[in-house]
Symmetry: D2
Subunit: 118 residues, 4 copies
């Protein structure tokens, strides 16, 4: 059991976004569905708390694994939605802006998909 680092978002990352065609928040594709995404995250948070409780109550390992798979699946759907929105908005904007802006976005997206499919 190795430990995983907490959230550590680099505050500089947003600057890259600004530099490359997503400079206003309204450009973030996911914004029009913000409330739905927030509701989904709330539900996933509840699912994680549910697993914590199952372990505390010493429930059956296989049942816990089933719940972990359900969370993974819910998170994957969130990620696929964010990625789709991102391409339709930030990436499309960057393509319209310039080849350099598009290049940055394509690289970012490819890296995100690679991380995500591992």
């Amino acid at each position: 059991m190795t430990d995983t680092p907490d959230l550590a978002i680099d505050p500089a990352a947003e600057h890259d976004a600004e530099a490359a065609g997503c400079e206003t928040h309204s450009h973030h594709g996911y914004m029009k569905e913000k409330d739905r995404y927030k509701a989904r995250l709330k539900r996933i948070e509840g699912q994680v708390r549910g697993i914590h409780r199952m372990i505390d109550e010493e429930q059956y390992c296989i049942d816990i694994l089933t719940q972990v798979s359900a969370i993974n699946s819910a998170l994957r759907n969130v990620a696929l939605g964010l990625l789709d929105d991102h391409m339709r908005h930030c990436v499309a904007d960057a393509v319209n802006e310039s080849d350099e802006a598009a290049e940055i976005k394509f690289k970012e997206v490819a890296d995100a998909i690679a991380r995500f499919s591992r």
Copy 2:
């Protein structure tokens, strides 16, 4: 964006566990590391809350995707740990008990790995 069901653990599932060689909680392999698993779930819960906040603050999509990948990785490590503990305890006990008990366990584990690797 499809919706994901909440936690819905079948209370009958634990009976199968009882019937097949994991009848006391002390047999659950993960129990000796219970506190560590609970700490990891707490941390994952915090990571999910962090993504909720990132969406609320309209942060950059790619940064959110990076965090989703980190949670997936943390959950996978939890699942791999639980599965390993489960095999060393519940499955090994079932093998020592009878072919029928072992058969139930092997089927459960194979199904869990299939769900998990999808």
Copy 3:
């Protein structure tokens, strides 16, 4: 052990491509690296044949699983490369062409990523 269908490419699929901004072969992003992709596929084919031989020679299951993981990893790299090339060429062309052409491409890419990340 369920059976998997052989290659069954719908010949109509190319028409969709033609209709949506990738109408000439030179637009396919992967073309400039065609020889490298072909070399990689040849190597993967050899790896698959290697597993066939390992099974025929009744080698140790865990060693076979290691080779299966290596092939999965090689295929994932091919897919990530194709996807990246596709976005930089076909998708970017479609964005420049029209919203309708872009919409078709974004939907296709999202579906491909979803299939691929399962």
Copy 4:
């Protein structure tokens, strides 16, 4: 596009197998389904060759990605089958033999599942 190493099976690996309860070929779980596994690998080899041909014929990227996903899925089913057979035979034999033999097998299986789920 990074390159992937060819098959490189350590000949010493089989000795570990011998030392830990899988010493005769008849113990390998997959042996009774050897012909079915070989037929599946032949089919996967044909699928890989099909992708090689699609690239040579400069077919549409998304169609190629669909075929890559189909191969990944076929390989995953082979791996899940081998793993299941391995647990029912080699692992169960090792559990019956000694704690030390079982420990080696559990470690190997956990590592194989971790590689496989990445």
